[in-house]
Amino acid sequence: MDALFIDRLQFAFTISFHYLFPQLTMGLALLIVILKYLAIKKKSEHYNNAARFWAKIFGINFAVGVVTGIPMEFQFGTNWAQFSTFAGGVIGQTLAMEGMFAFFLESSFLGLFLYGEKKLGQTGHFITAILVFLGSWLSGYFIVATNAWMQHPVGYALSPDGSVHLTSFWALLLNPWALSQYAHNMIGAVVTGAFVMISIGAYYLLAKREIEYGKTFVRIGTIVGLIASLLVAFPTGDWESKNVAYNQGEKFAAMEGLFETKQGAELVLIGQPDMEKLRLDNPLHVPKLLSFLTYNRWNAEIKGLDAYPKDHWPDNIPLLYYGYHIMVGLGTIFIAAMLLSAFLLWKKKLFESRWALWILLLSFPFPYIANTAGWMTAEVGRQPWLVYGLMQTADGISPTVSAGNGLFTLLGFIGMYFVLGVLFLFLVVRTINHGPSLTTESH
């Protein structure tokens, strides 16, 4: 194991673990605003209690998100020193804004939201919920804009010392790549939030306790979840994959498992990339559909991997291919599950259909997997580039940090995050067992 591999593994591990938490934070922030809105509109203590219950889970989740987020900023300096020297003048801007502005907004208003309900009154409390929502979604924007610059660098110029500096702050912020990536990512977070809400609601219904809350959670979760799982595929997913197809052709070809350039390219549903023979084993596909989805023409030409030099190919094509197909496959299943749930809800049969509730109960891990797989697609597909077209990943690491020191900290992170994960689950399960009807305002 060389230092480059350890550095990549540590970043991949810490960022994947970290992002389990913000995706729920951002999704729940929206759902809490909805619950709080209903509480005020219907003057209902039921919805208020529901909002307080989710705020508790939000608080635990937020704390873990914050502590696992700090290592990300650190690692740019500790493990990716050459990358930071090269690009710090650009991405430092968005990262600093996230750290100062959005994070500050979010954490100060979260304190008010969690502990200030009595003092603020209902309208004030609703406003803090909206500000927590805005803060977390703004945080998300700065992070996505940072990543978008690495995917599609804009608004920069090279300095004499070989590093880059920013020439247009607005170009960095309004990077077209960031807009599509942000839309897709945020809707993905809403899917996670909605599924978690549905799942806990289904648990209460199946366990025959907190039944009224269970119904509320399943109903609101299904409505939001149905809208979000449709939007995550179209238009945001479509927009995002067209961006990749038009700007990062080799990533697109690898994602889709397209080894040869073709007119009327097929859409692969299932198959295993064989990197020795450079073909897809056991393929199951729909003819010409990929060309149509990408260029709106059935016979449009799509460049395969053979059109690109091998040293520009993503360095782990099977992982990239699977990451993408897992995301798309799960996304399709989400739409099906939400359509089913919404149909039964409409027919007023959902709360009695134990089989459907079981499906909903067990569904909550899958949006986490889909979101993680989606980010793996974006990041593995960017390889071998760290900043697309400008700097290769191998040139970005810290030159003085040895593999042994890197492994020490990687193992430390694994141990620490394991304990954190167990604690998190323990606290959330405890909150769920406690139930929303007993959730009074905390002080």
Binding site: E73, W80, A81, G89, I91, G99, S107, P399, M416, L423
Partner: protein, 267 residues
């Protein structure tokens, strides 16, 4: 422009040291002066609303350093690899300790997080001081401007230095005792009764430690930087800082003896 950014980063770091300094100090004395669970809850509540605001200064300083001086950020973060990651883990443990402690009302749960919080605060104060010690002592840069410091070598300053040597450990202890008295003064200001009495005691004992260790550290600094006096002679305004340091030390002693805790805290 660069001087401006330097001043901004220095200001943010100073704000961090002053603000987070007292809640770190509260963490250090947490288990010593808080004898019962309810006393410890009072101590946590005294810093609860402010500690994460205080820590934003560290994030802000880090973020500003990152885009204003990327090369410095990259070189120092990778060079101080192990201590920085350890500081990071301690910051995480401290944050989790404060955030999770109040979630369950159970004596074992609270006692556990009290220990985590205190342990992380004590080590953090020493490590932050040692980091300052490293900056004072200096590090060997290679021709590309990078370096790497192991955690320790032989605890001597030469030939191959580590993060921890006799000099940086002294600076670490100076910081530890300074933050202890800083935190104790804060608690003395915020509480009354037994807690206040104990906090004042700690403040007075740690005051003597600060005095002794500061004098020791100045002597130590002159042995490794023999030209330091000349620097002060060349830049007379620089003398303001050590003089201000000792004046406020005297102020702390005086106010703490006479029970004016708020003034002692500000000193």
């Amino acid at each position: 422009m660069e001087i401006l950014w330097f001043c901004i980063v220095a200001f943010m770091l100073a704000m961090y040291v002053v603000l987070d300094g007292f809640d770190l100090g509260v963490g250090i004395i947490h288990r010593i002066i808080g004898r019962t669970e309810s006393e410890r809850s009072i101590l946590i509540k005294a810093i609860g609303p402010v500690w994460d605001g205080n820590e934003v200064w560290l994030l802000a300083a880090g973020g500003t350093l990152y885009f204003a001086f990327p090369k410095l950020y990259a070189s120092s973060f990778s060079g101080f690899y192990l201590p920085l990651i350890i500081v990071l883990w301690l910051l995480m443990m401290r944050g989790i300790g404060i955030e999770f402690r109040h979630l369950i009302h159970n004596p074992m749960w609270k006692s556990f997080w009290d220990t985590v919080f205190s342990f992380a605060s004590i080590l953090l104060s020493i490590f932050l001081g040692a980091a300052l010690g490293n900056v004072i002592r200096g590090v060997p840069l290679n021709q590309d401007g990078y370096f790497f410091e192991p955690l320790w070598t032989t605890f001597t300053v030469v030939p191959e230095s580590g993060i921890l040597d006799w000099f940086t450990v002294i600076i670490g202890l100076v910081t530890f005792s300074t933050l202890t008295s800083h935190g104790a003064n804060y608690i003395a200001m915020k509480t009354d009764g037994d807690l206040q009495k104990r906090a004042r005691n700690v403040a007075q004992i740690s005051w003597w430690a600060v005095l002794l260790l500061s004098v020791g550290s100045i002597m130590a600094t002159t042995t490794i930087h023999t030209d330091i006096w000349r620097n002060y002679a060349d830049y007379p305004w620089g003398n303001i800082f050590p003089i201000a340091g000792f004046v406020s030390l005297a102020g702390m002693f005086f106010y703490s003896k006479s029970g004016r805790d708020a003034r002692a805290f500000i000193s």
